[in-house]
Symmetry: C2
Subunit: 471 residues, 2 copies
Amino acid sequence: MSLETGGGPLTARVMTVIRQRIANRSLIAGARLPSIRALAQSQQVSTSTVADAYERLVAEGAIQSRPGSGFYVASQAAPLALSEIGPKLDRAIDPLWVSRQSLDAGDDDLKPGCGWLPPAWFPEEGLRRALRGLARADSAALSDYGTPLGLAPLRQLIGRRLTEKGVEASPDQILLTESGTQSIDLICRFLVEPGDVVLVDDPCYFNFQALLRAHRVTMVSVPYTPNGPDLDAFAKVCAERRPRLYITNSAIHNPTGATLSPVTAHRVLKLADQFALTIVEDDIFADFETQPAPRLAAFDGLQRVVQIGSFSKTLSASARCGFIAARPDWIDGLVDLKIATTFGAGRLNAEVTLAVLRDGGYRKHLEALRLRLSRARVEVGARLHDLGLTPWIEPQAGMFLWCRLPDGIEASAVARAALSQKIVLAPGNAFSVAQSAGSYLRFNVSQCQDERVFTVLKAAIGEALKAESRP
Amino acid sequence: MSLETGGGPLTARVMTVIRQRIANRSLIAGARLPSIRALAQSQQVSTSTVADAYERLVAEGAIQSRPGSGFYVASQAAPLALSEIGPKLDRAIDPLWVSRQSLDAGDDDLKPGCGWLPPAWFPEEGLRRALRGLARADSAALSDYGTPLGLAPLRQLIGRRLTEKGVEASPDQILLTESGTQSIDLICRFLVEPGDVVLVDDPCYFNFQALLRAHRVTMVSVPYTPNGPDLDAFAKVCAERRPRLYITNSAIHNPTGATLSPVTAHRVLKLADQFALTIVEDDIFADFETQPAPRLAAFDGLQRVVQIGSFSKTLSASARCGFIAARPDWIDGLVDLKIATTFGAGRLNAEVTLAVLRDGGYRKHLEALRLRLSRARVEVGARLHDLGLTPWIEPQAGMFLWCRLPDGIEASAVARAALSQKIVLAPGNAFSVAQSAGSYLRFNVSQCQDERVFTVLKAAIGEALKAESRP
């Protein structure tokens, strides 16, 4: 008894339980703690033990007592550590870690795991022309903030490009941002709150996970098939978890390269209607397409679907410029959030992007790029096949090949071995909320042009195989 | 009785109470509702009335029942409307509205209320040289993402510039961002949570309020004096409200143009230590200074103080580039958040900024700019004095004059009248969380070079005076 009330092991255990809930943010600052009675019950201790633990946590400053109202988490919580939100992951398959490795890679490092083209594959001459032109632009273009919606002629041009893909959006429905990622971030700020459920594909672009962690939402996923999300699983998750948002790429899916079929698109939209689900269609790979695939935004007419895009993949990731196309009644709220959190997006980047898009050379560049990529997909696919990797599908377009390793080999082990040789791979589970892609790797064929990729990969697979076979 | 259980006026009232709490986000999605007993007590109704109200709200889909656990706000809440968070404000003094008016102003509109220089006051030639140079840069500079921390030579240069101001920061403690606003946004994401208390000056830069609304924190303010925050009020708020963060400008305060005194700086830092308060020192006006004023970050050595800066005010707001200087152990967490929410900051803008800063012309430009601004402060100050406006202080540097209107005149009325003449003013209460600056206007002297500003202002004051004197 004295043990209990005197702050003995039981009190300590209760204090640890609460500290852990605060650390992993299942109790966030300002949140109300369970009542003394409720916690005593759930922890199988006496109420006096819980009361004692709470008093000690108050003394520590970890929680605050509000007389007559209960106990609350104090606001002096530790800084947000994204890497500590959600399941603890092996560094090699932590979404943030893979991004950092790719962004940090030195010029001599190879990064077949990264999600962008080598500099030489971008419209270099068009960019140089654009910069020379801007050097002669009026002073406002050089020094002024952008307007709240962003450079009008660029929004008009984006509107026309969307129409070509069947998405009807007036320039007033288009909001320029600093990137595709910032577009999704703004939409999350606008539509979701901590604790909301957000649906993604399994597998999906790994930074979706990092971004959603920053919004403290609960991620759920549905398996992705060669035609889009598994519809039965999709319907089940909608019914059981009531997600607020579904984030996906439809034209060229990342990482699989799959394309949404019209039938699946319609079914997904029907389910979205039924369950009041908003869909964010991330279309940043649009310009890689050889023939236009169906777009959710086209079928839906921007009612339940918000489409986002950027030019970082095909025009420049240095002059960053993205956009949001959304229903008219959402634009004002999105603009307010954009001003509040970034003031205006950079006008210079929008001017560069506009100049390159207007430059006749860009379409020619894209035609050459698509051809170059389809050749690379074939060549790299064959090389990977020789190493025992099997592509999940043969994508119609884009830079990615989603490949299965020989049985019994862990992608994370291969990635670690390759990294020690300064080669950044993208192991499957970095893309999988359900951690179901441990035997897959995503290859960016444009970053596989160096023989060393295959020699190191071969050696890494060998090492991983040895590691597996060890007793 | 039947009235109560049958969904009569009392039930309706309880439902309204809950709907309002959800609308003003005192109950956010996923939050637990008060227990039936507690609400019945606080609303002075029977428990069956509350039970009935909750059942009806469940049927509406506004709340969800979790058996054995209670009632929770449903996640299908409406999109976030910043303009509806916090007190409903007259459009003329809504922080977001003033920003939008300034950013939206046409080329022929005049905006003495805006917070930036006219294009011609920026280092135009340096920017043109920088763009011509970049047109010849290697292809990586034109098309690659920036590194996680941002362009290394620019971080080194920023480190040296900070040292000149007494702030010791190694390049590894400096994180490049897309703007000063994004810097503060990242820090808020890192350090605060919905419901936390954040302290600002009264008055303070109006976009701090819009930004903090987006983070759903509680804003409290302390009066600003010519030497910094009112220390007694500061100590009182720290003790009573335990703010997590204090956001301020120290060198040239926005909107007042005041300068923090060394004595006040030390006292503020002592209070920050005592109450475990983190300070964000927004130093974006640094380059306007004629003689360096004390910096909180310099006294503190970047322990409790995070300093942020940008080049939007003196170099270019089109090539946006900002930075965060913080304690070493916070950089990784901030970089993770930056990658998750924007992937990488634009490299092109960083390259342009670096080129202009390295260009010998920039320092010469600043010297000329400071002289031009101090002349303009004197001239515009005199013109405003003739119209009956009194400057709160005579700032040592910068573009702002914080002026009091003649007695009995509401700044918001003057702002509305001026706007009808296509002149954007900045009324005091847009800067005041406490709404205590209703008789002040902030003037940007660099935007007061057109005679029309004064003629329209004179007329607007006259109109406001008439309006006041009406019965």
